[in-house]
Subunit: 191 residues, 4 copies
């Protein structure tokens, strides 16, 4: 079980994907126990760790990061989370190619994600998913159109805005302020 | 991997929890590989099957349903999904008690969910989550206040409205029509 | 013209209805040039002033407030805005009755708004609108059901969440943080 | 007063701006009684008529439309609404220039709205607003950046998604389905 404290013990580094976005990315990609998935870049290792709690020891997470400092940080966090046997952290740029094949899903949380699409297409198994976390609409368009050009099917692009509610005896209503936007999630599927 | 076709082969029955809600319920509860979780009522078995793809063979899903027709339907769907070794479908009302103990999470998708809270509290391990799928605000309030009275911590209640985007060379924009509301998700945590 | 600076010159007092809510309240009520409308309580006079810019000199805004300090503040602001000939500020509780008749619309921005409904029903002309600004769902329910009981038609209750966008050469996306909730707007119509 | 029936008597033609968008466009532009405003293209005349109910007889609405059929339709609707003395319908393309000067606001509901910006800048008074109704994000970007280049200040771009609520004794919740998107509203202000 990942309790709310689970991620608190990890060392801090670059900004992490929020649980609200990781949950949808993983669920709509279709990640399941036993899957072999890839994420790039590792950043703090947060997303790789989240995915490892789902694929379990029967699966594998390959986590690419070209920056040495982030690579070491994410590796350290993988150990802290007790999931380093499931995650293989690699210091490598995904733009230089993907070593693995027959992957179930590829998650891209980096600038110019579209440039990783040809590698992702080769590395995925049939029906495998390629998911990008994209802050701006322009990036969504570039990613999706490039993906379609390469033969991917654009399954969906979503914009998730969960609203937290105050529930109290004296009155029930949404919280006044909150996160209006973090990232767009674009899902491509290999036919 | 659960591809988009995964759930299409299942037999239809009562209305199912949507993937958008199941994904958040599971992720914010903290369900991970190896967990032992419970859902009630089984309905078509959809949520139990979704949870089984996450907890895997090292975990277990107990799925309670008092109606014989739904119980048999969900059981049949568990077999179709090839996950019947992970899920134990029981024809039993959760309001009559929970047989299991030390559960990681309990999911309640039924009317009067608050009446299952005392049983859930006993059946959960420390830090375990009790999550309800609730259509109306009144139900949210009843569920959350009853839970707090029993000693649960109200972690969050959310209202999820993902927006699908059209991404085309000629223009990028959200889809015109869509789902504005399905269910509120209320998360209680055993201290 | 009300430029963005228009309201800045007014004296501050109790929390004001935001433009996003005033705009919808007025538009869906159907307020037009020449209308005679009422608002209670005056607060800082902000809503009365906004309405006065729409009904114009051919119309009239009656603004009720029982607290002397707020009454005087709103009156002062009406003068500052140069609209005191259109607005009649009254130090009076709307719960004690409405002096006017054949009103086009009544706006209620106060606690226990439902207690003003019988007075509003008498004071409105046929097809006139009674609009309430309500923070909590419980208040919405009480207001709407009481209104229907009295013979009003519940036209709509809305929840407005405009999202501000960043538009820049380097990328277009919604602002990260923002207002998730201010008030529910409930619209009742006299048949 | 514009009751909900007000617009029903008008003749149907091209798709109209919805009240939810017209309300915000007008309110955030700052349109008030007595203002002189322009809209292009007229379409069915709906927006011009809405604006006329706010500016009143002390103000003026100039409504440009180059297509003869829409021009005649909007003119007919202006008469039906009894507001033809306030609205001047012109059969003219706004891209060929604006005859008026010292306008309080210009509303653009047509393709390539950015091409009308130089004319709008000349025709507006100081602090006047130029508002565009734009379906796609690409159009927002083109409009806003072109406006800034010309010297306008980008006040805001919003995305409005009101949610309708069901309020019933047996339960209160948002409507299941609804409009997720109609138009982006971009507001430019002449310094």
């Amino acid at each position: 079980m990942r309790t709310p404290d689970f991620f608190k013990k990890l060392s801090r580094g670059p900004q992490v994907v929020l649980l609200k976005d990781a949950a949808y990315a993983s669920a709509f990609a279709g990640v399941a126990n036993g899957d072999r998935v890839l994420d790039a870049g590792s950043g703090s290792g947060w997303l790789a760790i989240y995915l490892a709690t789902i694929v379990g020891p029967a699966g594998k997470v390959y986590s690419y990061e070209w920056r040495e400092d982030f690579h070491l940080l994410s590796k350290k966090n993988g150990v802290k989370a007790g999931l380093d046997s499931i995650i293989e952290f690699k210091q490598k740029s995904i733009f230089d190619g993907i070593d693995e094949t027959e992957l179930d899903a590829v998650f891209l949380d980096l600038a110019n994600a579209e440039n990783a699409l040809p590698h992702a297409l080769n590395a995925l198994k049939k029906k495998g998913a390629c998911v990008a976390f994209l802050p701006n609409v322009e990036q969504v368009k570039t990613f999706v159109l490039k993906g379609e050009e390469l033969g991917f099917v654009h399954e969906r692009t979503i914009d998730v805005m969960p609203r937290e509610w105050l529930v109290r005896p004296q009155g029930t209503r949404p919280e006044t302020k909150g996160l209006m936007h973090t990232l767009f999630l674009s899902f491509l599927r290999k036919p």
